[in-house]
Symmetry: C3
Amino acid sequence: MRITGTFLDEISHDIPHQNWGAKEWDADFANMKKIGIDTVIMIRCGYKQFLTYPSDYLIDQHGCYTPPLDLVQLFLDLSEKYAMTFFFGIYDSGKYWETGNMGHEIDSNLFVIDEAFQKYGQHPNFGGWYLSLELSRKTKGAITSIAKLGDHCKAISGGLPVLISPWIDGKKAVTANTPELTKKTYILIREHEKEWDEIFDGIKNSIDIVAFQDGHVDYNELEAYLTINKNLADKYALESWTNSESFDRDMPIKFMPIKFEKMLFKLEAARKAGCTKAITFEFSHFMSPQSAYIQAHHLYNRYLEHFNE
Amino acid sequence: MRITGTFLDEISHDIPHQNWGAKEWDADFANMKKIGIDTVIMIRCGYKQFLTYPSDYLIDQHGCYTPPLDLVQLFLDLSEKYAMTFFFGIYDSGKYWETGNMGHEIDSNLFVIDEAFQKYGQHPNFGGWYLSLELSRKTKGAITSIAKLGDHCKAISGGLPVLISPWIDGKKAVTANTPELTKKTYILIREHEKEWDEIFDGIKNSIDIVAFQDGHVDYNELEAYLTINKNLADKYALESWTNSESFDRDMPIKFMPIKFEKMLFKLEAARKAGCTKAITFEFSHFMSPQSAYIQAHHLYNRYLEHFNE
Amino acid sequence: MRITGTFLDEISHDIPHQNWGAKEWDADFANMKKIGIDTVIMIRCGYKQFLTYPSDYLIDQHGCYTPPLDLVQLFLDLSEKYAMTFFFGIYDSGKYWETGNMGHEIDSNLFVIDEAFQKYGQHPNFGGWYLSLELSRKTKGAITSIAKLGDHCKAISGGLPVLISPWIDGKKAVTANTPELTKKTYILIREHEKEWDEIFDGIKNSIDIVAFQDGHVDYNELEAYLTINKNLADKYALESWTNSESFDRDMPIKFMPIKFEKMLFKLEAARKAGCTKAITFEFSHFMSPQSAYIQAHHLYNRYLEHFNE
């Protein structure tokens, strides 16, 4: 199973910026193309005050800052040049992370979705929406928020596909600012199944694709979780992708590129579980031959060697 | 507003060493020159047992180690070659960080200042002093220590300028060894103003320049803080620079180069507040095209593109 | 005192993988050779589910995964090509780290040692064993475990030398996942001496070489500790090497290459204490001119400059 999609981690949340300009992004899309990537997903269009595009709404109403470069336009143009489908990630005010209540993110995003589609929706490579509000459990406001936002995306765009990428609240589900690598209290597989049955039931008409993050459970549990997720998604007629993380959650440095062997192991688990596509978080920091992390250059070479054999 | 000064982070406190020799430092002074740097500030002449120059006093009296290279001489010679002003940073025994009492640092530094000026003071590029004892609040011994040390520096050197670079005890003022990125209890802007009014009153005749670190408050609070600092400094006839940090305090890896957009934002806030010069902590790790952090190479390119337009 | 041996940190525990293939490892053995390395010690043959060689026993009995490359064979062949002695590091299930009881590691390793020696023991460069169960204090099961495993290694291999590399439970002995750099409660030098007298007495016939890690105590205490260790080792007729860590324990990023001056200081302390050989943890991440950490490239250059003078 090959990786054919990647997030574009701008604006970044917890991975240091690479300070690339248009030239470096162009070169990286070429790098992506070479390993077979056909889908790019912008992780979010803004985070707190910083934006990927000059949003009149967010600048006027939320005090956000005008960005020096319109990354959405750049990513769309590069998607066209390299024949890729672009998914637009919605705005993250940071309030959900602070309060645990996803409801805070609804109102502003209804405006953002309108504005973004008006500005960029006619671009031939604008191919879908990514709801950047990562959820894991049936937390407060989660089902309503995802449903409302997904419905709105689909309504105004003629039904373009909506993607979510939840995480499993497993052993390794610790925040980036926690020094520990694992936690003692985590979800059991049956609870996970029960909660996600209810979540999917509540959002089944509002989203199209679910790509669980694959880094929060032990390697030997992964296939079991992916299989449960696939079966539940099938029950509600949702498409199952895997979000195969290309960084290593087992190391005290947060975060560096993953060992190739671990990536292969996780992709194989997704294949066995029946996922129909593999995307990764994310190519440009962790797999690119021009990444600031040199471990990524070797990961790229190992990947090419393996899959071009 | 352009950056025209940088700290030289040797001996390093919490940023890993780059293991540069004389050749690499020479190349980096050339890199600095190219973006318009005319001032270099050695962060400290020693930290605990490690020294930048062979100080008979610190080796004999404090058990410090003879360094393999006299960095003070090297930095002075490179300052001459590249027409820069060199500020000498005083000794840091580590005791202030452990005890919170700055008084521990006075006695040894009176000797160090004498010794350093005797050894290097006649060098044409020896242009000032940096009091490396970073202060933030009106803590125990702070005013007395800064006053005594500043007075001594000025007395023996014919009044060469004395620089301090305090931090604001804001939301992001956490130690490098704390996993969190923010803290819950921090100073309010009126308390900050009141305390610094008293601090400046106590040290106004002993120092010349104050360059507050700009990374400890939220982006949207920065201009307000810088403006208060500028007004207070004006009241006591002190010169206001900004110390615009070129590393990113918002990321769990401590520390990596900052996103160019954030740097621009902070420089613009300093310009609006009326700061007369911008220095950075620091060029060689976080902005240099030969840094061990490749993100810095791109930051350098973005900076050159922007300011040479 | 020069470094003439290095660990090979595969499978890695807390240092991110470099994703090297056979070509990169070959080049790195050449790099090692150039600074005088004649001994390579594979840190462990497996960690939890991941393995360096296709062990039928660990795959069948412990659910481990078949590795994509037989690193043991590769390292042995490179040892032959570059005339180095290879030490085989035994398996680490991770249970000792979780429970503090080393007894868990005995049974599986008796099988692993048999299997490994049968597969690789006839290789001309298979030169010794490394007991990867790092110990520090007289903890539960430690003496028995080391003795049993060392005895078994020697018995089946005609007495090939057995190496251990303990750590001193000093001020800097914090785990990799702890944000702090030091701890408040640590061993006193007399306790250390008393405990290690007993430990050595219990394992003196089962091991041959002891290489204490040199990074857990303050620089000014190091020589005293190394001297005690050397005297105790002499008393029990054990050979004393030093394991001079080439990463920096004083920085919040865990872990980056050490400053050359600190490395020199530690090697000099080992020389004075009478250590007969210096090995390092480890060359490929922290000293190699092809490391992903560019600081390591400069460390390599400083090292070559210093020792080739």
